[in-house]
Amino acid sequence: MTEHMLTIDGQRIPFTEGQTIIEAATAAGVYIPHLCHNPEFKPHGSCKLCTVKVNGRNCSACTFPAADGQEVLNNTQELNETRRTITQMLFIEGNHFCPSCEKSGNCQLQAVGYYLNMLDAHFPFFYPSREVDASHQEVMLDRDRCILCELCVRASRDVDGKNVFALSGRGINSHLIVNSTTGKLKDTDISVDDKAVHVCPVGAILIKRKGFEVPIGERIYDGQDIGQVSLEHEMPIVEEAEHGR
């Protein structure tokens, strides 16, 4: 069997049939910034942070199939600037007051901002008016921080088998809704052990009464950058999937 091969920034990367570019990269220890992607779930492709150049064309690494001979550009100044701008867009379309957010330090949006050397929000804030849902005993949904990645949607549907969440609306009015008559979490069968409660990359879905259990300064991204953390966490997942293939 001949080994499949592509290159990322000139480095030769092997891949197996059916893998996406980001899976091949992760398996080989190459970090491609991403937010809506999580190797445990079906590829989605909405945040566009993982944008890479494949043979000169922009593609989303998390959805684009790896193919022999692809020349992929990833860690270039141009792409990282693009990613920084996209990250700024995600910040200004929501309401992110990091200093008072329980997720601060564990938040992937924040961490990606650091990684991409984002020093300000750049654009004027949109200050949207979004609903907070604190109706549930144990789970809290603060839509101000939602980046519409649909990880909770996928987790609830594909892993929990509950369909608690969905995206609704259109364009800049897109928003996360809860699948119940009242639209409130308390009227769903969500439970604190559900996968959906644990996949949010930001501080939009939080578990109640767990505030600041780990002090600021000792949180995930306080000591390590998101590139390292991401690879450590995701490499085994991708490898396992590869063996299952």
Binding site: P43, H44, G45, S46, C47, K48, L49, T51, N58, S60, T63, P65, T82, T85, I86, M89, L90, I92, E93, F123, P124, F126, L148, N163, F165, A166, L167, S168, G169, R170, G171, I172, N173, S174, I177, V178, N179, S180, T181, G183
Partner: protein, 599 residues
């Protein structure tokens, strides 16, 4: 609030009429909206239960499409087309007059629930505007006189079905016919030829014709059909005709469906035979609701004539039928994979590609999606052969293209030209000789200036899905661009970050510059966002949303620079304007309640 037993019966009837089929959710919601003038929360629960789908899906679909609302609209729900060519015909003044006479605020239903007025994206009546819709039905040629009549009809509670017919007259306005519009097709004749010739050689003829998709992207039609035909492991294959025609300034599919429906359906049937499909769908934009009944009548006629259904033209081995699905106000549903999502009863969000619809389309089955004009041409090619078609046009663009011409010219309407025709020729024919610039291909296409009028129609030079807008010296380039940029921000589906956020940023940035609050840095910023949105968006909408800005910045930089303030940075907001709320709340308007802004 519908909750009475008779309301619930109405809902049950609507669901039954649609066979409780969840893929028909958009159709069902259309009926609910037209019955109750909104989609009440209680009805969402009911529909979810009766269709065995999530309530969240019902809500999500409701909140996606412009023609659905969660708050009651008026018993007379009037929408005014807000495209730039409507503006040029005075639509904004007409709308203001209408609102004044009716005593309504745009976007708000009158307190008595009788009427609501709002704006909507281009309704496809560009050459007979100002245009609008009342309870979904197209209104053309709105004048002050008509507005006064409409106000009476609304206040007298006269049902729309009893309004004067001429308010709803939609003309074809065909000024130049060529191969596709000028060739008479006897219903069934292309099908007979196809079977005589054989399916393989019919596909060969389509290939020889060089026909490329007429909806925009220009993909080879024979190639698409071949891929679909060869897709393996499928239960069924589908033919879908894309009649979403949402690109502002495009109205040629409307004319094809109004006066050449047999030809379009025959093309779909040819495709069905070639790829081995038994079911076809026509996805009709909601704005063309007035065509629904006439099109169904044509379908019925074809069934009676043995041109649809089973045993078509006496062939027991060939069965094919066509169903019409109607949209609900979403430009993005013209994108083929979003269209398929919509047909499946979902929000119109473009899918990831690959896989493409030819292998994984409607219900995950191999599906051909083609434009209306593509099918109309394919029917004639099946009849007359490939060489007949490829004799016209250029090396890379065979055949003819139907244009919908609107804007500043003496004879707006439909013109069919061989590819390779110059802009100058087209302008001479339609009486648009005073043109300062042209928007080719609609907002997603490009804006060209007078020095480029020797350029030609074709995939290799100036491609267009049909939209052709003419602007003369009186027009303000930035106002045109602003209209288009607002359009994209309104129509972005919201799936991907660059398009969702970027189109809003572009809109705000352009508004700032047009309002005279922009500095040099703002222009650079405009360009920077434009390039990013173009380069990183998920689908064609985002990838083209900045075209109006980028193509005019390149050609008319002075138009932008004229609007700039002398300083290089200007705050994004109007300091004094921001105090307006505070002034209103405190009832003050004296000099000390105002702030001067340094400029």
């Amino acid at each position: 609030m519908p909750s009475t037993p008779s309301d619930m019966k109405t809902i049950a009837d609507i669901v039954a009429r649609h066979d409780a089929d969840p893929t028909r959710l958009v159709q069902i919601l259309r009926d609910v909206q037209s019955t109750f003038r909104h989609i009440p929360a209680a009805v969402m629960d009911r529909l979810a239960a009766q269709l065995s789908i999530d309530r969240a899906q019902v809500q999500a679909v409701t909140e996606f499409y412009t023609f659905f609302s969660t708050e009651p609209r008026g018993r007379f729900d009037i929408l005014i087309s807000d495209s730039i060519t409507d503006h040029m015909l005075g639509s904004r003044e007409i709308a203001a007059y209408l609102c004044e006479c009716l005593g309504v605020t745009p976007g708000q239903t009158r307190a008595d629930g009788q009427v609501s007025v709002d704006f909507t994206s281009c309704t496809g009546m560009c050459e007979q505007g100002p245009a609008g819709l009342v309870n979904g039905y197209a209104l053309t040629k709105l004048t002050r006189d008509r507005v006064e009549r409409i106000v009476e009809l609304v206040n007298d509670d006269t049902p729309v079905s009893q309004w004067p017919r001429e308010f709803f007259a939609v003309k074809d306005n065909i000024h130049r016919a060529d191969l596709v519009l000028g060739t008479k097709l006897q219903p069934g004749s292309a099908l007979r030829w196809m079977f005589q010739r054989g399916l393989d050689s019919t596909l060969d003829e389509i290939a020889k014709s060089g026909l490329r998709g007429r909806g925009g992207a220009g993909f080879g039609t024979a190639m698409k059909w071949k891929f679909c035909r060869e897709a393996t492991g499928s239960a069924e294959r589908f033919v879908v005709c894309n009649a979403d025609e949402g690109e502002p300034g495009t109205f040629k599919d409307r004319v094809l469906l109004q006066s050449y429906a047999h030809q379009v359906f025959e093309g779909m049937t040819v495709c069905g035979a070639v790829i081995g499909a038994r079911r076809g769908y026509l996805y009709l934009r909601g704005e063309y609701l007035y065509l629904h009944e006439p099109l169904n009548a044509v379908l019925a006629e074809r069934r009676r004539a043995g041109l649809l259904g089973s045993n078509i033209i006496g062939r027991p081995d060939f069965e094919f039928d066509i169903e019409i699905r109607i949209g609900a106000g979403a430009y993005i549903c013209g994108e083929e994979s979003a269209l398929i999502e919509s047909m499946e009863g979902k929000r119109g969000v473009p899918r990831n590609r690959p896989p493409y619809p030819v292998t994984n389309g409607y219900l995950d089955q191999p599906t051909v999606v083609n434009n209306v004009e593509t099918f109309a041409a394919a029917a004639l090619i099946a009849l007359k052969g490939g060489a007949w078609f490829s004799a016209a046009g250029t090396e890379k663009s065979k055949g003819t293209k139907i244009l919908s011409i609107a804007g500043d010219c003496a004879r707006p309407g439909i013109y069919e030209y061989p590819f390779g025709t110059t802009m100058a020729q087209i302008l001479a024919d339609c009486g648009g000789t005073g043109a300062m610039g042209l928007q080719i291909g609609g907002p997603s296409g490009i804006f060209i200036g007078a020095q480029e009028f020797e350029r030609v129609l074709g995939f290799e030079d100036l491609p267009t899905g049909g939209s052709f807008m003419i602007f003369d010296q009186r027009r303000d380039v930035l106002e045109i661009v602003r209209n288009f940029t607002h359009f994209f921000a309104h129509e972005s589906c919201g799936f991907c970050t660059p398009c969702r956020v970027g189109t809003s940023l572009l809109k705000n940035q352009l508004d700032k510059i047009c309002a005279g609050h922009g500095g040099k840095a703002d222009l650079a910023e405009l360009k920077h966002i434009s390039k990013l949105v173009r380069a990183t968006s998920h689908c064609g909408l985002g990838q083209t949303a900045a075209n109006p800005i980028l193509s005019t910045l390149e050609r008319f930089p002075e138009q932008y620079e004229q609007r700039l303030k002398a300083i290089s940075f200007e705050p994004g907001f109007d300091l004094d304007g921001a105090l307006e709320v505070a002034r209103r709340m405190s009832g003050r308007d004296d000099a000390h309640a105002h702030l001067a802004q340094e400029a």
